[in-house]
């Protein structure tokens, strides 16, 4: 399965990723439609914050969503936010996500959908601050072998 890896110290702040993301997700171009956001705290700080979903194995928003609008696709492992089931103003997912991956898209929250596994943002990131990497979701059940019975 695939997820985005962010190497924020490689980011030059060009926001080309935002542009192509926004262009790819809406017929008319508005940066508000971008599923990822680049920002800079102060002018003299050349490190940029890259806020985007990284398909975390343990996803706190998934547990926080009260309506089931946020789900994980079984086959690809990609988190999906269904706008039809996402009530306006709830934002519990956005509060639970410590990566700031949920963005206000103008008509409700929006989330990275990995563009079907070939994200344009990765393609235009020359410094490779954004990379696509493979991972395995752990199988269901206990993560570690059952403890040996205590000798006592």
């Amino acid at each position: 399965m695939l997820r985005l890896t962010v190497r924020k110290f490689q980011c030059t702040g060009c926001r080309f990723c935002e542009s192509v993301c926004a262009a790819g997700h809406a017929p008319a171009f508005s940066l508000g439609a971008a599923r990822l956001r680049i920002s800079q705290e102060t002018i003299t700080e050349p490190t940029f914050a890259v806020n985007v979903c990284r398909q975390c194995t343990v996803c706190l928003p998934l547990a926080a969503c009260p309506t089931g609008a946020l789900t994980r696709e079984a086959r690809t492992g990609v988190l999906r936010l269904d706008p039809a089931r996402c009530p306006a103003g709830c934002r519990l997912c956005a509060e639970a996500c410590h990566l700031g991956a949920f963005h206000d898209g103008g008509h409700g929250l929006i989330l990275c959908d990995l563009c079907g596994g070939d994200p344009e943002c990765v393609r235009v990131c020359y410094t490779e601050a954004l990379l696509l990497s493979e991972y395995q979701l752990p199988a269901r059940g206990p993560a570690r072998p059952a403890r040996e019975p205590s000798p006592r």
């Binding site: 030059t12 060009c14 262009a23 008319a28 508005s30 956001r37 920002s39 800079q40 003299t44 103008g106």
Partner: protein, 632 residues
Amino acid sequence: MNKLATIDLDRRQVTVEEIAPDLRRRFLGGRGINTHLLFHAVDEHTDPLGPGNVLLFGTGLLTGLPWVGASRSSFSAKSPETGHLGDSAGGGHFGAEVRFAGFDHLVLRNRAAEPVYLWVHDGQIELRDARHLEALTLTDTQDAIKHELGDTRVQVAAIGPAGRRCVRWACIMHTMADAWGRTGMGAVMGSKNVWAIAARGGATLPVADPAALAKVTRTHYEQITRSKGFLATSSYGTLVRLNNTRTQGYEGGFNHQRNMTELPGELDADVFLDRYEIAKTACFNCPTHCRHVHEVTLRDGTRRRGGGPEYGGAGGWGSQCGAADWRTILEAWDYCNDMGLDVLSATAYTAWLMELYEKGVIGEADTGGLSLRWGDHDAIMGVLRQTVERRGIGALIAEGWMHAARAIGRGAERFFDHVKGLSIECDDVRGHRAQVLGLATSSRGACHLRSRYTLEEFALPSSVTEALIGVPIPSDAASYHNKEHATVWTENVCALADALGACKFLSKWLSTGLLGVDEFRDAVEAATGMRFTTEELVRVGDRIYNMERLFLVRQGMSRKDDAPPAKFYEPWTHGPRAGTRVEREPFEALLDRYYALRGWDGDGIPTPEALRALGLEREGALVASARGPGRC
């Protein structure tokens, strides 16, 4: 979208109008539409620092769109430094954000009663009190405004203390080192009592054919990142030129008295990268990330961070002022950026004063006690500080070099290297004929960004240049043959790029592998639906250039002003091409051929036929009535 806002600062009124499709088609945007607006908004009598001048801001036709390097925008006004055409393009994220805020062009008229900054957001423009910014440097000004507006994604273009005090060569800055530098646009902004423009918005920009634009963008991205020039520009930025000019003998040393300084090896781009660079940043949508971020320990032990430098500062303080010492260069560079002084003018003025001091034209009585010895750190910083504080010699040069030369007397003006009142860049291109011609004819005065045929330095086979320009250009830089074609092509393509908001660092201005007019045409068609042939697009550049020429003619300029700096007629003293100089006769013949190619008469005045072909007969008639018969 497609909105032009006029802000009457005196009455605090904002009026918004649509940009007519015809104007778009003829001038596209950015520098193009700015030039059109400026021509009609001021005249030959307008005082550049008076309320009658206008400050125009224009985003390029493609600025802000999802296309490679769509970042550039232009400020234009009548220049307080040169007294004629003022125009300066800059990158960063500001132009794109103004578009996202809902505007393409801003026109600032009159003068605000109290210092203000403009808050441009979501289709609205507010004038906000700026008095609390008075003590702040440029980076602090931008951070303070972002903090005040509560959004780190606000983009700010601001002036510093130099602009607020109307130093005639003050610039407008954005981030740490993006500048609209030349021709004193910061002084015009200061004279209007506008200290900054902040922008933020979520506007939707229409794209004619999103799928086609995505395809074009992907193709252009691949073309740029696979080109030979890309590795050099993305590692060194403009500093790539520092090493070229030093080793090939056209570096411009000690106020253009020598073409090779033989200063120590410290003055090398790799030394800068190794010791001082900590990061790279990029303009909007640009993979090249040519902007350096540096950290340096100053002489007083303080450690500071800054953006840049570019070649103009490194060569300017390095070889031109003789400071082969990165710490001095970076301190001077950062000081200029903090205060909002144009670096190219700052280096030219300092080198000029140093030569005057060396020749005994000025002494310590004139310089406010400074010993202006070549390469001296305290001398360089002293000149800059005095300028911002308007005292000593700084009080004179803050009013521009022409004023300073008159006040000093004793033939001081002969030592200042300029074209049409604007200083030349630090490099010394007298052996490159198309570049000399470009310097001489450049519409805002000496300029490498609107008329330098950069390709001349690469000794390209004439078959390559023929495919590009339509006429074979000799690979020998010292040849005068056919060079008028190279200069006209460069001037038209640069004007076109400035109107589109495209960066010349990603274009064939720099390297044949990068984007050319064909690529611009594809992007324009996909993004806006406007169909042009390649020739028609080049003609837009031609139209802009002729419009600028009409502006100059109205100011009383002609052939007498199309002259390279006097020092260029002296031979190069050092290096592999020692002895090379501009020869008067072949140069004048080259200028004649250039005028003929442009359709201008022997005195450099556009002929009525040439103007009619470009649809500029109305402007030509205006100039003719202002200047008398025979002048268009």
